[in-house]
Subunit: 174 residues, 2 copies
Amino acid sequence: MATGQEPMTPPEQQEPVETSPATAQPEADEQAAALEELRDRWHRTLADLDNLRKRHAKELERVRGEERARTAAAWLPVLDNLERALAHADSDPSAVLKGVEAVRDQAVEVLRGLGYARYEETGVPFDPTRHEVVGVVDNPDAEPNTVAQVVSPGYGADGKQLRPAFVVVSKRQE
Amino acid sequence: MATGQEPMTPPEQQEPVETSPATAQPEADEQAAALEELRDRWHRTLADLDNLRKRHAKELERVRGEERARTAAAWLPVLDNLERALAHADSDPSAVLKGVEAVRDQAVEVLRGLGYARYEETGVPFDPTRHEVVGVVDNPDAEPNTVAQVVSPGYGADGKQLRPAFVVVSKRQE
């Protein structure tokens, strides 16, 4: 068999090695068996890898659906209570208002339960990761670069930010 | 460069084959190299398998978080509008009512957008996969075993059921 002087880059093969039984020595036989066995293992591991990929794709889809259902279901009681509050509309308009305020509180609580606590503090230092500036106010009495007014509350924190708070900040000192 | 006469089936290799020039027979050497190479491949595939498992665990967590955020975020406009409706409370109580009704419609729309359409039809055949019976009514005019009244609407369909409708059914004919 021709052998190059320098390392070759031979074609890869996945077929079993051909051995000529007539000439094989015991050592070569053992090695051939070991080779066969190892090739089997490798192929099984490759099959495992492939199966795992397929299973993962399905599992991702399942988890996505589960999480969507779980999150959406958390809101059903809010909607139920909203409808209950509206059911009083004819008989007692002021009861509607109270009911709806309770629903609002419940909605905020649902968001907190999902990991998105509400925040709307004023007077705190401006934090670009939590606040989005929608205005600047020049108030000599306020600490510079703090939140003077919250136009719309923020939800979530620390990499689980659902929405930053929209705020008016006091002017930075020059 | 050396070129073989016939197509060879040399051992798979990515590293240069180790040979002990003094004693080795060519065939045994080749097989030893093939064995070594195959062992390498197998180990690399095992490592791939392990990495895939780890990556998948992280990915599941990421997908879960993403889906929760996406679903929760769909509800923020509902909460915003609820608060806007309440802001009118002092000046115009009847505006609150209209606003809140609009919010209720919006909430139903959000659920539909997430894949959980609302259903509350009466007169349809009772379907145990979509309806939960909370009462039975004996009405000779109604088709037997149909939905006579919806106490609470259902959401979702076909394996994406968020909540069945709670219904009163007309009596089954004896």
